[in-house]
Every structure is written in structure tokens, then in C-alpha cells.
Symmetry: C2
Subunit: 334 residues, 2 copies
Amino acid sequence: MATIYEVSKAAGVSLATVSRVMNGNSKVSERTRNKVLKAMDELGYRPNAIAQSLASNRTNSVGLLVSELHGSFFGDLMSTVEKELRADGKHVIITAGHSDEAREKEAIEFLKSRRCDALILHAEAVCDDYLRELNESGVSLVLVNRMVPGMEQQCFVLDNEAGGYLATKAAIDAGHRDIGYISGPQSKEDARQRLAGHVRALREAGLNTENALVYQGDYHESEGANGFKQLWQQHPGFSALICANDEMASGAMTAAREEGINVPEQLSVVGFDDVLFARYLHPRLTTVDNPVSAMGLMAARWVLHNVYKKKLSGVIKNVFLPELISRDSLGTHL
Amino acid sequence: MATIYEVSKAAGVSLATVSRVMNGNSKVSERTRNKVLKAMDELGYRPNAIAQSLASNRTNSVGLLVSELHGSFFGDLMSTVEKELRADGKHVIITAGHSDEAREKEAIEFLKSRRCDALILHAEAVCDDYLRELNESGVSLVLVNRMVPGMEQQCFVLDNEAGGYLATKAAIDAGHRDIGYISGPQSKEDARQRLAGHVRALREAGLNTENALVYQGDYHESEGANGFKQLWQQHPGFSALICANDEMASGAMTAAREEGINVPEQLSVVGFDDVLFARYLHPRLTTVDNPVSAMGLMAARWVLHNVYKKKLSGVIKNVFLPELISRDSLGTHL
DNA sequence: CAAACAAATGAAAGCGCTTACATATTGTTA
DNA sequence: TAACAATATGTAAGCGCTTTCATTTGTTTG
């Protein structure tokens, strides 16, 4: 592979001049620029990004931490972030934290050792203090799907409470009064907030929230089925079931069907997240969207603006409001 | 951030010695090693991976090209590859080629400029010659889901013909005789092979393959619906429909339902790929699995072995045989 | 106890770039 | 045309490591 030195020799100019035409910042006369370009072309020269990074103290790479590399939520996030950054010549190093504290920290250390110019983190397991320290230690970072007090401008989050409210409100508006809820693990912030929104909607409608029909699941499909079974046993015949995510909604729908209960005629189901397969379920799932792509985009733009000094088109938005995606699984109840 | 120089000063040894304890290849006495380790610890030293790469001409990074960053197929691939390589301290730079020749080439150039030690490519649009040239130019690379003559050992593929055969054979074994087929775009190798397998199964059963019920789709859901409609119009009442992928199978099932046709009672449907949502469809989709994870694993192991000289556990397998995943969408036909 | 060898350590030259700073070239003005 | 900007180009010192080769130190043996 040709180096800058060979290019400089071939073009009959100095290293500095070659570097100048590559980076296009300093002035170079039209004639020499052409000579250099020609030499580069003839040699098939490609700058060594590693050497550039070492010399310039800039890697043009941003680290992205996700919980998993599969699943539509992270797929959308990675896809959006990569596209936006790549358009500006930056590249993304992706690592997975698997929602585990040690692995998340390890992944972050890894990204730091790779000298990423910035980090975009979907960190679930590390504590707020760790993130604040990281932030103060001089690492440029933004957080997706997490709000850390003191770093509000660097956090891009969904208003989960509003989403929880939206889902239950939709059921209430459709005439439902007996409404069950399968929550996510209450150790997770988003799960707590979604539940809080649900409770607010019930209360607002004057419904009983004391001995509410709530089952705590773990966001997995199987717990959707378990949750449904338990709630149905506890209070047979409730007319709507709100689930804190689509996976559990799917599990619940399958379990209901196995009991011979028709969705949505006998039981309405509402999910949360609008993952890809929500459209493929039968009946197609009414759910609350989770604007991952929009959040990923904002995170990428923040980096472009604050780290790479690119001027912004549009404003940076930190908190996203979810919308209800009406499909077929929510029926009216007279 | 502390550098190796500061560590060497703190420990009272030379740079070379610090480097030695980091890399652990050359001998260092127990006493000095401890001094160095202590100094590193106290300074919170983290080696600069960029500088290491430049000096050693090894980046410990492998480039991964996928068509898209979302979707379960690529999610599984990325996930497996990343996990396997990361376990050995390598990291993965992921880029998307969007099944477009120019973008695939650009992505590959990008990975080359990052000086990846090896490339794992899911390249659909570039031609065989390009890949062969790349290979001969000294870049270590392997191909996933693509067989290029002359590079067999570096290709990890599914036997699509066998998969196509399997799907149709299953329908025949279940008693079906009137079998429709929605193929993928015949510009793609895998689509042609899947169709070839289908035809072989028909022929073997002594069924007519002349004016066979075949519709050419594009692997997208909508074409599954279109394909079903057209075939049904052309020959109403056929009892089984084989689709070249799950997306189209889903589209076909939805279209059938809209026509009031029950799956699987009146029409059996078989898919291909066993993507995540196949389990979520109703009825759950009988399909042919596509062992992406296994292929990704092999690709990663090949790299570990051939590029990083790691000794192998187990053998390298290049061609993978698919299996039928029996669920509920294929019924018997007497 | 010195010779002979092995083991541990250090000195220094890169790796391929960027970027002050210095110098050369050109253009402008009186 | 001398004097001076302004502009274009070159020189060389890093960036933080690895690695070769030379040197020092330690160990063994006759």
C-alpha cells in the first residue's frame, strides 16, 4: 500500500503539501494540487486512517453501545446512527453490553481504548454516578433512552409515562373499564414510568387503582402469557389488557387464543414499542410507538455538532413524545 | 491520559520493558513486571490502541459488511460475529452496503482504509471478479452467504437448493399435489437455487413442472400478497404455497386471509429463513431455517484461525444444510 | 574464579501521518 | 525596481507505541 511519502516523491512535493491536499484546509495552488491528485490516483493511494488518527488525535470514530446487536429496537438504532454519521465520514464501532453492569463497563473501556471521539450509549446497567463521572472525565458522550440528572442536554429519551398513559387512555376511550396491565420489571426506570402513565389514565377516568389488575413481567414473551393467565384467573372477563411491550403482548395474545378467547372481540390488547413484528401478529397489534430512530438521529446529530463542530440543521430535541399506532387488536367495548 | 512513557518513568524502566509486560510475549523478571503493573495501575494507564496499531501494523479489528443493520438476519449475523471475535479481544467495524454495488465498494474501501486485519463480507452486489481481485490483493477476507469459485474455503453458505427442495418435499409428503411457488428475484443466486430445489422436488414426485405455478417476487412482503393473488386467480384452489422467504409468506398469508381462505385448512404455506417473526405469525409459520448464526460463527473462527493464528476447536464447515422448522402453517392434504 | 552462556533490559529507529514554524515564491505598490 | 505583503511550499518534530539489536546482569561450569 502506497504511503504519503511515495505520493510526495511521485508528485515532487513535500509530505506537508500532500497532507494539505488531503485535508483541504490549508491553501495549495491549483497546479500542485493537480500534480498531487494525479500521483495519488496513479499509486492508488489510500490514506492510512490509523496514522492519521495518531497524528491528529482524532479517530473519526464514534463508539456505540447497545444492549444487543439483534432485535428491531437496536437494529433501528444502529441503522440510523450509522447512516447519519457515515454521511459525514465518521465510522461507528458497535459493542454490546447485554444489560449487564460489568459487560457494559468493559465495553465502554474498550471504546475508550479505541480512542473514539465520542460515545453514544444505550446503557442500562451502570449507575448514574458512573455516567456522570465518565462525562466529567472529558469523554464526549450522549445517552439514548436514559435520563441522567445533570446531563439533560446529552440525554435522548422517550416520555414513557406519556406512552403508558396513551395506551390505557386509548382503551378507556374505546369504552373499556376492566383493564389489566402487564408491566415490565420494576427495576427498570422505563417500566416504572409506563406503569405510572397507566395508573394516571385509570385515575383520571375515575377507575379504581387500588387493587388494580397488574402483573409484573420481565419484557419477555413468556411472561406475557403467564401474566395473562394469572390475571384472567384472578379476574376473569376483563375486557382490555395493556402490556408494557410488544413481546409480552404477543405472548398474552397467544395465551388468550389458547383459552379460546377472541382478540379483539372478547379481549382487547395494546402493546408498546411498535417493534417490527407487531404488524405481523394476528390481529395486527395496536401499540405505542417508540421513536428509536428519531432518538438515534438526534444523538448522532449532537455528536456531529458538538464534537465535530458541524453546524446543525434543525434543533436538538431531548424528550420524545410517543404516538398510538392504531391497528386491529384494540376493539370498542360498549 | 497516561502514556507508556509516563509508566516507564514511574516504574523506573525503559519503554521497551513496559511494552513487554503489556504484550506478555518476551520475558520480563517477576520483580520488574510487578513494578510496571503497579505503575500502570496507579496511573490508570490504558494503552492507546491507535498507536499500537500503527506500530505493530495490526489493528485487531475486523470489518463486517452487511446489507442492512436491521432485520433479524443481519442482527443474528452481527451478533454472532461480534461475540466470537470480542471474546478474543478483536473488535468489529460494521458497515452497510444496502445491496448496492457502489455502496458496497465504498464500504469495503472504507474498511480497508481503517486497516482492518480481515474482512467478513455479506456482499450481494459486487461481482465475483471484484472479490477475487480483492482476495488476491492480499486482503484477508471471507464471504457469508455467497460462493465464489476459486475461493471455496473462504465462503460460508447455505445450501439453498437443498432448502428449496426441503420446503416443497415437506408439502408433497403432506399430500399436496397442487403447489404454488413465490420465488425471490431471479437476479439473485440464492433465489435461483431455492427455485431449483423446488423444481427438483416436484419432478422427483412426478409432478408437472412445465407450466408450474410460479410467481417471481422480490423478497418483500407486498410481493407475497401480489404473488398469492395472481397465482390464485390463475389456478384457484391449489392447496399449498411455498414462498422463497418468510416475508413473502407473511404477505401471502395475509392476502389469503383477506380472501377468506383459511391457513392451513384450505391453503398450506411454507416459508424460508425462519426469521424471528415467523413464530409470531398466526398460524405459526412452517419454514426452512437459515443458519446465519452458524455461518457467522464459522466466518469468525476462520478469521481467528487464519489471521490471528488461533488454534481451532472443531472443524471449519463451509456449506450448511438447512432444516425444516415444522410449525402450524403446513397442513396435510388427503 | 574466570570463561561461557542465558536471561533481562535498554537504546533507538521506525510506523504514516499532522502541524507549527521557517523559508521560498509570487504579486503589489510607490 | 526595491520593498513588503501575501501566498505557497518545505522542514522537522512529534503522536504513542513495537521491535531489533546491543548491552548489561545473572548463572553455570570446568
